[in-house]
């Protein structure tokens, strides 16, 4: 690939910024949540601490959270673009970001237990590619910590224990259950990504891709937008609050998407992303030059 250095440098900047600089929509969400909690309450103290943390990470150019997570890259490239070269430039950028302390040594060999010094290994980072009929490259990055990854859940409807049938009321019950069982773990107030349908694997993929949506957007499918609204209200009523230590703000948002399914399967998949919602993106030229930020 030509301009390999340019690509590495742009991707490094994307990683650095994702690690240290919480997106504006999420910070606004935290501020709004803070106002809803009582003064001198634990919930308010936690949210104030989180906001202080956001500012410090930015000022000190240091990771928002020490768990710099799994790195998931979503690329949209022009038709015929050389994605292999993009993978190798990204790996170089990840290794450099690790060396400079923007990423923790966070990749473990699952068989030997050995820690990887560069965060570049089989399955790390993760890549998705899509070809688009335009002349620029869009790249989005999610850095998803392990604490919130561990509280993700997949339901298969009907679910008798929840009284959840194969309809949107059943989906609502699954999501409520996911919020209740995630509490105290996963670092609330987080955001839920939900996928209705798909299979065991694509359900999780689709639920995670919901995190690429902006916090204040609404589903373009009216009925799903209504379900998102209702569930967010109900999550407040559960009195779980930040970190599960009581209060209103168990969640900042709920994003629901859907995929087709086969007649025999009806999965509802819920992914949880913590308040340290590290998601950034950029439009780059085909030479890897920076054009603009997406978030």
């Amino acid at each position: 690939m030509k301009n390999h250095v340019q690509w590495e440098s742009s991707l490094f900047e994307l990683i650095r910024r994702t690690s240290v600089d919480l997106p504006c929509d999420i910070e606004q969400g935290l501020r709004r949540a803070c106002k809803t909690e009582k003064k001198a309450s634990r919930a308010r103290w936690i949210l104030e601490t989180l906001l202080e943390n956001v500012q410090k990470a930015r000022d000190k150019d240091a990771p928002l959270c020490q768990d710099t997570g799994s790195l998931i890259f979503y690329f949209q490239v022009p038709v015929g673009f050389d994605t292999n070269a993009l993978v190798s430039a990204t790996r170089l950028a990840v290794a450099r970001a690790t060396r400079l302390g923007y990423l923790r040594q966070n990749t473990i060999d699952s068989v030997s237990g050995a820690a990887c010094a560069t965060n570049v290994a089989y399955g790390a980072p993760t890549f998705y590619f899509e070809q688009c009929a335009r002349g620029t490259v869009d790249v989005r990055l999610l850095m998803k910590g392990g604490g919130c990854e561990n509280v993700g859940k997949q339901y298969s409807l009907p679910d008798e224990s929840l009284g959840a049938g194969r309809d949107l009321e059943g989906v609502r019950r699954c999501v409520l259950d996911a919020v209740i069982s995630a509490q105290g773990n996963g670092c609330a107030p987080g955001i839920l990504g939900v996928c209705i349908g798909g299979d065991r694997a694509t359900g999780y993929e689709c639920s995670k891709s919901q995190f690429l949506r902006k916090l204040d957007d609404k589903s373009s499918v009216k009925i799903l937008a209504r379900l998102e609204d209702r569930l967010l209200k109900e999550s407040k009523a559960l009195e779980i609050g930040p970190m599960g230590l009581g209060g209103n703000a168990a969640l900042l948002g709920i994003k629901i998407g859907s995929m087709s399914r086969v007649p025999a399967s009806f999965f509802v998949t819920v992914s949880y992303m913590c308040w340290a919602f590290r998601r950034r993106g950029a439009v780059l030229t085909v030479r890897g030059g920076f054009k603009k930020w997406l978030y």
């Binding site: 001198a40 990470a57 020490q66 009321e169 773990n185 009523a237 230590l245």
Partner: protein
């Protein structure tokens, strides 16, 4: 903030200091703490020897981002990791080593409640993800053990803290703040599911 008037805890953490704490209280921790997470808990549980005396000490569930600058270690980010993964190991570790304080994050269950009660120990909940605010409470890095064997994130770092903020989540009587909140939310959740107002398109 009246509610959040802090209690101060200082290493070594004596039975008297820890015994008077109650679930829900706000504390500021100062002095030495030892980081320990998944690998070290399993190692101690299986009878591995601690390189330091953990009597009246605190284990901090934390895997910091630390980089080498000249001859010093510099903490770039450090906050709590999820503690529930260590629950199966804790009773034995608290008993064998005389650990007095556990610092971490997230809900813990009956096993930890029992271990805290039996060992006169408390579980303190720090703010998850607040790696910069909490890294500033680390005054200095006093030592490193198991760095080679377990990797830098899983190693035992000896950290000196100053006014590290946390909430008492389980006290030495076994009262569990998060469990109380969870059982209340379960009740509310059941009502919401029974609601006569199902979601209909």
């Amino acid at each position: 903030m009246a509610l959040l008037k802090p209690r101060r805890l200082e290493y070594p953490f004596t039975q008297e200091q820890v015994g008077s704490l109650r679930a829900g209280q706000f504390v500021l921790v100062s002095g030495l703490v030892y980081t320990a997470r998944d690998r070290i808990h399993k190692f101690f549980f299986e009878g591995g020897k601690s390189p330091v005396d953990l009597k009246n000490a605190a284990l901090y569930h934390c895997g910091p981002v630390v980089i080498r600058k000249d001859s010093d270690w510099v903490v770039r980010a450090a906050g709590p990791t999820t503690s529930i993964r260590e629950e199966p190991y804790l009773p034995r570790i608290i008993k064998d080593h005389g650990v007095r304080v556990i610092i971490g994050k997230g809900s813990m269950g009956k096993v930890t409640e029992g271990a805290c009660k039996a060992g006169g120990c408390v579980y303190l909940h720090a703010v998850g993800g607040a790696a910069q605010v909490l890294a500033e409470k680390v005054v200095s890095v006093k030592g490193l053990y198991f760095g080679e064997e377990f990797g830098l994130a899983e190693a035992m770092w000896v950290l000196e803290l100053k006014d590290f903020p946390a909430i008492v989540a389980i006290d030495s009587k076994g009262h569990n703040l998060l469990r109380r909140i969870k059982s209340a939310s379960l009740g509310i959740g059941r009502k919401l599911m029974k609601s006569s107002d199902p979601f209909i398109p």
